[in-house]
Amino acid sequence: MNAPSTTHYPAAPTAQKLETHTLSVLVDNEPGVLARVIGLFAGRGYNIESLTVSETEHRQHLSLITIVTTGTPMVIEQIKHQLDRLVPVHHVVDMTLAGNAIERELAMVKVKGKGDNRVEALRLADAFRARVIDATTESFVFEITGATDKIEQFINLMLPLGLVEVARTGIAAIMRGPEGM
């Protein structure tokens, strides 16, 4: 017997570069399907940055789940295969790899303030093409649609002007051009 004196346990693997990908997952809209998808991410230690779900084809009971996730390229590939393996999953499309996808998000932004701040908020909202969907004498709720960075930028601008709270839908994505998934 000639065991070395140092530990035989392995060192943790070294970190690799992370990437962010948007995945469109077409699923049967059946009870528990979202739990399966989320459980997969939780159980295998994957990240969810954003998640959007809604039934998109009522007649066939199909829902589209849009997930934004981060991981090494190998992990992202794993995620896609693991998703595809779930019985109620029809398609998994990596919108980031496909390269020509449009991504949009909707946010409702509540801002409270009076005087110059209130005027400035309204002006900026106009510049960002945000709509006023509720107003009181001391507040606005804006509705803004766009790519994530545009919404982030708008929220950052509202911060000093009296930002109260934000509700966001998460990302929906679709391919450009005539072809479907």
């Binding site: 000639n2 459980g39 019985v87």
Partner: protein, 591 residues
């Protein structure tokens, strides 16, 4: 059940049993309870499906696994709600890890009580979601026939696995129209069987020009069926390349063939692991690069091109990057490979192959499985060797528990045919072997079924001996009793400074008396000279036997790749042949 129309009205409980019968289920392993009583009522009034009463629901699933793995059919389980379902979870997870087709019917409280914390209620579909291939909660009687048949289809196709069907009690009572199994146009679930032809051509091209090729095969070949095993044998014969296999793949290729270089991985042979490390083309068929196989990933077979055939795309590129990934069923892909090899006018580099075999024989000559024999105490390896010699000419099936005895069984029992070896590989479930042998013996009543066990493991599911006695299943439980949780003790010796925390099997029962208490037969053997006679006695007795084989408590299982080490960093026992030039420079430092 009377009536023979394709569709007719019956209760949900009757549908469950009718569906099992229509799916050719002969045996269902189960345990009754409040929420499945209507189904048990349906069992009572028919004789197409035989119910086997186990003593614990975990035992039911393991028995169904043994049944499934030794026959290639779907194993079937019936348990009640709440504790019945939670007790089955270990078995379901085991079946998921080892890709065993199981359909498990669980009872559930009536639909109007679901979510009310009713008596014996648990969220069965929630609990079993991550440990099944798929699961259903049936809330409408109209869905029940479709779901039952779909469950069998999903469990047995593609990469097999366990499927749970949770049936509330009111659905069991409800009346509906039953329909026979047919093809279901399940749009989302279509396993791919044929491999991509371009990829298979690439693989054949790589194989044809290999200088140091190696087949690395796994449980996927066994799951693919007898045809896949025959095709594998043919391809190995055609190419003349060496072959190693994982724990789960044993028997797909005969251990007696000279091309066989033993099991690989943590307790694999030196020749198999060194060949993995040094090969230039690795042909992986139906295996999944598990951490017990690869050891340290960044030092895993650094110089090889890897061909990976698997039916599950998520197994490819999970741990190890494949150069030629082929998604498909082993039998289909092997068939294409053989055809291309035959028609391709391929001339492998004979000189390089000769050198490769010389190198492998060199590693073989170190006899990495050697151990120091003794006349005073039974060495566990010796016990397995004798068991093999005395049973190899019989129609024999082997199951195991988990630990040292399992690894010794894999190393020293030569498997020549598939479906003869039932072991818990992925999950490593102590207590698997005894109930599994119950399932195997039921499927093969005339065969010799042996559970090679450890004294710690076997106590985890000992109650199933009662099942074996009830159904007159003459299983042989061959316990390598070393008074320790042997593998735990070995790791503590090697990795934790010999501090044997809680690994001593204190207060063991007298296994001979225990056997008698169960109305089985007990044998104890502690001397090497008595072993052959005792094994022969065990084989001759036509009832369950508990064989207490008292072995050397200090023996370790070698060779061993400590977890996180590379294939050429094996620890060898002190009985092997030292041949300095049989190992690479890098390996010498460690070995």
């Amino acid at each position: 059940m009377k009536g023979n129309v394709m569709t007719r009205e019956m209760t949900g409980a009757e549908m469950v049993i009718q569906a099992l019968a229509d799916q050719n289920v002969e045996h269902v392993f189960g345990y009754p309870g409040g929420a499945v009583l209507p189904i048990y009522d349906a069992i009572f009034s028919q004789n197409q499906v035989r119910h086997i009463l186990v003593r614990h629901e975990q035992g039911a699933v393991h028995a169904a696994e043994g049944y499934a793995r030794s026959t290639g059919k779907v194993g079937c389980v019936l348990v009640t709600s709440g504790p019945g379902a939670t007790n089955a979870v270990t078995g379901l997870t085991d079946a998921l890890c080892d890709s065993i087709p199981i359909v498990c019917i669980t009872g559930q409280v009536p639909t109007h009580l679901i979510g009310n914390d009713a008596f014996q209620e648990c969220d069965t579909v929630g609990i079993t979601r991550p440990c099944t291939k798929y699961n259903y909660l049936v809330k409408r009687i109209e869905d029940l026939p479709r779901v039952l048949h779909e469950a069998f289809h999903i469990a047995s196709s593609g990469r097999p696995g366990p499927v749970v069907v949770d049936v509330p009690k009111d659905i069991q009572f409800a009346k509906g129209v039953y329909s026979k199994p047919k093809d279901f146009p399940h749009t989302g679930y279509k396993p791919k069987l044929k491999g991509d032809m371009d990829k298979i051509k690439q693989a054949i091209d790589l194989m044809a020009h290999a200088k140091r090729p190696l087949f690395y095969t796994g449980g996927g070949v066994v799951n693919s069926g007898k045809a896949a095993c025959d095709l594998l044998r043919e391809l190995v014969k055609l190419t003349g390349y060496p072959i190693t296999s994982t724990l789960m793949g044993l028997g797909a290729f005969p251990a007696a063939d000279p091309k066989w270089i033993g099991m690989l991985g943590m307790h694999g042979t030196l020749e198999a692991n060194m060949a993995m490390h040094d090969c230039d083309v690795m042909i992986c068929i139906g295996a999944r690069f598990d951490d017990r196989i690869t050891g340290r990933l960044d030092a895993f077979s650094p110089g090889s091109k890897k061909i990976h055939v698997d039916i599950d795309p998520s197994s490819i590129n999970k741990n190890v990057k494949a150069d030629v990934p082929i998604v498909g069923d082993c039998a289909h892909v092997l068939e294409d490979m053989i055809r291309l090899w035959r028609t391709g006018a391929i001339h492998p580099d004979k000189k390089s192959l000769q050198m490769w075999w010389t190198q492998i024989d060199n590693w073989r000559s170190r006899k990495s499985l050697a151990y120091r024999s003794s006349n005073d105490v039974i060495k566990p390896q010796y016990a397995i060797q004798r068991l093999y010699e005395l049973t190899k000419d019989k129609d024999v099936y082997i199951t195991t528990e988990v630990g040292q005895h399992q690894m010794w069984a894999a190393q020293f029992y030569g498997f020549q045919e598939p479906n003869r070896w039932m072991t818990s590989g992925g999950l490593g479930t102590m207590g698997y072997g005894l109930p599994a042998s119950v399932g195997v013996q039921l499927a093969h009543p005339k065969s010799l079924v042996i559970d090679i066990a450890g004294e710690a493991s076997v106590l985890m599911t000992m109650q199933e001996l009662s099942t074996a006695v009830q159904y007159r299943l003459p299983i042989k439980i061959f316990i390598l009793n070393n008074n320790y949780m042997g593998m735990v003790r070995q790791w503590q010796e090697l990795l934790h400074g010999g501090r044997y925390a809680e690994s001593y099997s204190e207060a063991l029962p007298d296994f001979v008396k225990l056997a008698e208490a169960y109305h089985a037969h007990g044998i104890r053997c502690a001397k090497p000279a008595d072993l052959d006679r005792a094994i022969k006695e065990m084989i001759a007795i036509d009832k369950p036997v508990l064989f207490d084989c008292v072995v050397d408590p200090k023996e370790n299982c070698f060779p061993m790749i400590p977890s996180g080490r590379a294939h050429n960093e094996m620890l060898l026992g002190d009985a092997g042949v030292s041949a300095e030039d049989a190992i690479t420079e890098e390996g010498k430092v460690m070995v």
